[in-house]
């Protein structure tokens, strides 16, 4: 992991004068958290890290903060992407929010990122962490006192347990070697199938219970790399007004449906919406269900091929399933 961080820094250093900014991760408020890093000076590159805590999908800044469709100079934006992140990037390129030539993409094959809360459940007293690495099927957390080992399936994020794309699909430079996906295509929607085995009324109960906690902080929307309406989201427009300020289930449900519907056939399943949720609602399930439908009907998966036209952004009169 140390080596990969070093390689990462070196790769960026090689091209740094052609970059406006390099987006990566650095150590956050403690050694159990990474935080996005916007490096604008080459001497700061040594802050960049790569480890299983680098969970944020940095592509979310592209269509929002950085807006690479409008460049003031010919310098590029350097960005680190994991496998899942690279799919978001492709989707942004397909939808013309980002021009491929304005980016310098550093791809990193990823064995999974840690779900901090699951780790805390297993070991609430975890303190003085020095390093976090993945070794085989275990997460190793070195503290000043001792090294703890946790089975990966107990501490990784849900998205990583079903990951089919650990390797970046698009990149200018790859750090390390491609790795074998944890899940096959057949396992992609296992979590959805589990929910679908519930009876309709149980399914309703499940969602009522989960969505009831929503506080409408809009973190799921804002963390989403493909939620590109920025400050014009219809969840907050006043004219017309779709949602009220009430915080009952109807409003929460409607908001989440709006979010999901706008991502149908666009969601790249990076799982950021679920990762950032402060009240731990499994919101990715809703988006994955829509993706499953799009896959069945249109044989399309978002963020795989930059040349392909997303089916719901076009109209094909010969389409035989609609």
């Amino acid at each position: 992991m140390e080596d990969k961080a070093k390689t990462l820094q070196e790769e960026f250093l090689k091209v740094f004068e052609k970059l406006d900014v390099a987006l990566g991760w650095e150590t956050g408020y403690d050694s159990l958290h990474a935080t996005p890093s916007f490096i604008r000076q080459s001497q700061d590159l040594n802050r960049m890290v790569w480890n299983p805590l680098c969970s944020q999908n940095l592509c979310t800044y592209l269509a929002k903060t950085l807006n690479p469709s409008v460049r003031e100079n010919d310098k590029k934006i350097g960005i680190c992407v994991k496998g899942c992140d690279s799919r978001s990037l492709i989707a942004l390129i397909q939808e013309k929010f980002v021009a491929r030539e304005t980016l310098y993409i550093v791809g990193i094959p990823c064995e999974g990122t840690v779900d901090w809360r699951r780790l805390m459940r297993l070991k609430p007293s975890l303190k003085d962490v020095q390093a976090v690495t993945i070794q085989g099927n275990e997460l190793c957390v070195e503290t000043t006192q001792k090294t703890y080992r946790f089975p990966l399936h107990k501490v990784l994020e849900q998205r990583c347990l079903q990951c089919r794309y650990p390797n970046p699909i698009i990149y200018d430079c790859l750090i390390g070697h491609p790795i074998t996906p944890r899940a096959g295509d057949g396992q992609a929607y296992e979590d959805i199938e589990k929910i679908e085995q519930y009876s309709l009324s149980d399914r309703l109960k499940f969602w009522e219970k989960e969505l009831d906690r929503c506080i409408r902080c809009y973190a799921c929307r804002n963390a989403c790399p493909l939620c590109v309406c920025r400050d014009r989201c219809i969840a907050e427009t006043r004219t017309p007004k779709w949602l009220t300020q009430r915080c009952d289930l109807t409003e929460k449900f409607l908001y989440h449906m709006i979010h999901a519907m706008h991502l149908a056939g666009r969601c790249t399943e990076c799982g950021e919406c679920e990762r950032v949720c402060p009240v731990e609602i499994p919101v990715t399930l809703i988006k994955k269900k829509l993706n499953q439908i799009v896959k069945d009907m249109l044989d399309y998966e978002a963020g795989i091929d930059p040349q392909k036209q997303p089916p719901l952004l076009t109209f094909d009169p010969g389409e035989n399933k609609i």
């Binding site: 935080t35 996005p36 916007f38 929002k64 459940r121 400050d231 990762r275 731990e280």
Partner: protein
């Protein structure tokens, strides 16, 4: 009878059961099976109270609900003269007495900043005032700080009893509970048996030990001038806040954030006037009717958040800062923005210019 009683771990449910017959008892519970997060909910039979870690969502909701109906209205047409209509208004609220059991000193301190705004100014907020008067706080001495906590940096601490009515100290296999004022004293007989001298002595030692801890590294209470010095340094704010995604988590989980919105939500001839949580992190927070937005960018919005807590608020309310050091905004932030760091570094600019 002594004011210090002992509740054995195994008796806690029975105590809460008894209390909940007299009032709404808000307790920290897990968000769901296998979830790490905790929120406060009214106690009912089968509630599993979790006291071993700080809640994700504190008890802010108890005194300041995410949404409350200020009044409801109905337009009525005059049958004799259809061009006229009058409005039926209903603005009565029934507030029941409540107890918040198991909040932490930081949670309670949040309400001390609320008091300044809603009670101690020129106008009193009747909605807040009623709830405040009818709500008691049985606060848990805090011995579970983590790397995001910094209560001592803002003038509080893990043994801070200010604002609480009852004080809970975990001792052996239970809790020693002490009344801190008259309101709290009234609940003591319902809560349990007198503590033994040994338990009281043990509790005293634990309290002393925990109170001596300094949680957090800096002193952030004197940052007002530093903030003013940094105000126009946009590079600083860009540097600190580029990674912000402009969601409302930090403000919604914050025990001291009290901004609200008031909207009339109506349909056909009926409707309600609602007060709901607002967030200064949102673009729409400052959007004006003209379309102009004085804080269109997240840098300006985040700067305002820091300024409000560490500069404008103390300027208005006798030096009190509106941050309780609970660390929730750090812990729950999707991109791990650390407000301590932002405030800590304010200083350098001022010094550098001197």
């Amino acid at each position: 009878m002594s004011e210090k009683i002992f509740i054995a771990q195994g008796e806690l449910t029975a105590v809460l059961e008894r209390l909940s017959k007299e009032m709404d008892v808000w307790v920290p519970v897990e968000m769901g099976d296998e979830k790490w997060g905790i929120r406060f909910l009214p106690y009912h039979r089968d509630t599993v109270v979790v006291l071993n870690r700080q809640s994700t969502l504190g008890p802010k909701n108890v005194l300041f609900p995410q949404v409350e109906t200020l009044l409801s209205f109905r337009y009525q047409k005059d049958d004799d003269d259809p061009s006229k209509q009058h409005i039926d208004l209903k603005d009565r609220q029934d507030i029941s007495p409540a107890l918040v059991f198991g909040a932490r000193p930081c949670d309670v301190r949040g309400f001390l900043t609320f008091d300044q705004v809603f009670l101690n100014g020129r106008y009193k907020d009747p909605y807040y005032e009623q709830r405040r008067e009818k709500t008691l706080f049985a606060t848990l001495l805090c011995d579970t700080e983590d790397s995001a906590c910094f209560c001592s940096s803002v003038g509080s601490g893990p043994g801070d009893r200010e604002g609480s009515d009852l004080w809970i100290i975990p001792v052996d296999e239970g809790f020693v509970v002490e009344a801190l004022n008259e309101k709290g004293r009234k609940l003591i007989p319902v809560m349990g048996k007198q503590a033994t001298p040994e338990q009281i002595e043990k509790a005293r030692r634990i309290h002393e030990q925990v109170s001596a801890k300094h949680v957090g590294e800096d002193d952030l209470t004197r940052s007002a001038r530093d903030f003013t010095g940094r105000f126009e340094d946009m590079d600083y704010w860009r540097d600190m806040v580029s990674k912000c995604i402009s969601c409302g988590i930090c403000t919604f989980v914050c025990p001291t954030c009290y901004c609200f919105n008031i909207t009339d939500e109506s349909r056909d001839l009926t409707g309600e006037r609602l007060r709901s949580w607002d967030s200064c992190m949102f673009y729409h927070y400052t959007l004006e009717a003209s379309g102009h937005n004085p804080r269109p960018e997240k840098f300006e919005r985040y700067r305002n958040r820091v300024g409000h807590k560490f500069s404008y608020f103390p300027d208005t309310y006798n030096g009190m800062i509106s941050c309780c050091g609970c660390g929730r905004c750090i812990r729950s932030c999707p991109v791990s923005i650390d407000i301590r760091r932002v405030v800590h570094h304010l200083k350098e600019a001022v010094d550098a210019e001197v």
